[in-house]
Amino acid sequence: MKGYSRYFAKKFMWFFITLVFAIILNFVLPRLMPGDPVQAITGKIAAGINNQTAVQKIYREFAEKFGTDQPMWKQFLLYLRNLIKGDLGVSFQQYPRPVSDIIKSAALWTIGLQLPAIIVGWLIGNLLGALAAYIRKGFDKILVPISLFLGGLPAFGMAVTLLVLFGITWKILPTSGGYSFDMVPALTGQFIASVIEHYWLPFFSIVLISIGGQAIGMRSMSIYELNADYVKYSRFLGVKDRKIVGYVFRNAMLPQVTGLALSIGTMIGGALVAETIFSYPGLGSTVLKAITGQDYPLISAVTLIITIMVLVASFAIEIIVGIIDPRIKAAQAE
């Protein structure tokens, strides 16, 4: 058990260091931006206000809030303190709505969409890749190009294609939003039905893309494992083929789990862009709106929350890998 706790402790330490770095980056990068951001912010908020004293007052308020008159380290402490309190500032676009308020619901929509989609895509992709490696012949010849094509497609491309086909040409599914626009979110059967109806297209555009990438990876891993010495040895000891296939796929699957931890950031990035195609009320659409509306506090908050989501996801996956792969334990004991 000692190996495990050491592994977890190490992973957790990494998680923490990365989090700190992510926060620092999130703080520093925008402040490297040339020009006076507070001036820019004030300009946006005070657009249309003619009273010069009022504009001055807004400027001073923001300067104080961001502490731009203070040294950098003090500003950072201020930023941290606000962050811990859950205060991510106020949105410019939807002034004076707090950013944390906007983010909260968007993050839920994104997690609700992407977590199942990535998991389902991963499972199906691995299954197909394993089958391709095991069956080879015709199935392999068809699956490889299709997977390569799907895996190489940008998620938004798949999203638009599905949207036009199912939403516009065949009019089977709704084209935009997370639920019907004439509804108010509530836990009613009707609302849930609407959410599910709006769920399919974004869901499948993410699933299809992930299937492609995963199938290719799993196929290579499985072929590699099928050629491993232990397969031949097990066969010559009369172990049933079914069992051997079990060994192979378990072993091929483990690096795929690790691979998921490494690629989850990229996958979420692509999926966020796909969200914008459907105007899904998640983080993707939020960040698009924030960028086009030059809503700085909102952008910063979204990038932070995405980072944290990715961090937590990869941390969780690494913990799972640590538990199910004895090689990790052995490596720690060395």
Binding site: F21, N26, G152, L153, V164, G265, V310
Partner: protein, 417 residues
Amino acid sequence: MKTTFRQIFRQANFVIGFSIITLILLVITIYPLFNPGSPLQMIGQGTFFKPGTYVNIYDSLDTSKVYTLRLDDAAANRIGKKLLPADRETMRAWLIAFGLPEESVQIEYTDDLLQLWWNSYDENVRPQGMTSAARKAAARVDAKLAGLYNMESLTITQPDETTGEPAQKMTVSETDYVNVSDIANVRVLPLGTDNFGRDTLKELLAATATSLKIGLLAGCIATLVGLALGLFAGYVGGIVDDIIMFFANLFTVIPGFVLLILISYSIGQESRGATTVAVVIGFTSWVWTTRSVRAQVLSLRNRDHVNLSKLSGHSLIRILVTDILPYIASYVVMALILQICSGILSEAQLSMLGLGPKTTEVPTLGLMMFWGMQYTAHLNGAWWAYFPVIVMIALISFSLNLMNTGLDQVFNPQLRS
């Protein structure tokens, strides 16, 4: 070396991928020679002109030669083209309400529909269950049909220079034709125009060129940085390795996408040229290459020939370049191809969020997609404004990936079938 190349070019996957990418490169180089001019020139006044041949009306009236052709189906064609689907629906509704069986009224066949209409329609009949609005609509369609059957010649007038009175200049009869080759201005827009009124095909090919350049630059930067760091981390080891891997681990978990958003936003719209975007993408995506190069170097660093080189007192750089690099070269090439591919995708995704290169300078595939979506081309049926872009991205990424699988099968014999 020669045999390796021969092996590579025998790989079906590689050859197919290579052919596709070569074809794309040929087209984007040759097309501008035949169709010069800026791809960003807004030729169309209005958004999303559909693909097709655009014939100048002024010039077609002004041609010296007019031909008379007596074609039997001319009138039917004319009506068929002008009778809109909505009009046909109105006619159908009236006919069915009038009492005709539903299956006998088919709106696709203009001739049959008109036959039914002439036989049945009477503006004084009030079919059961029809609102007066629907009846009025039917009457309007009937009037339109009457107008379409009016085969009088059109007269074109011009104000008289002295009196200002309209004077007849010419008449155009329904049997008059012009030969397209006689018309001074005919423009083929194979993919129509986009929301800005730009020639979409021309823009698409220019955008492909830019995106490939961005991908290449980003890929080269990522690969060079990744390779250098990976070599040093793997070969030197110790504290150098620890520091490099610290940052590599850090940037594995902090999504490159987030960094891209933050950096691109911080740079600001004005200073964001295609090159800047490519550089930013390159410097945020080296991590993956570093990790894999380092892993490869670790397996090489204790080989005999490396040790021999070390004992002979060769410099670090020389050992890295002559004793290690050749062994991972194939691997680096594959990594580069993947990085180019992901560079193109990254640009597209950034642009989709409004963080792409400055729009006034160059078209990129991502920007075309972005504007298509902003102007809801997909909801308006303007497929030509976004679908060719998706196909192009898919083709590039598919062919690059295919080439990579081909290379993989040559260099990793286990994967051969």
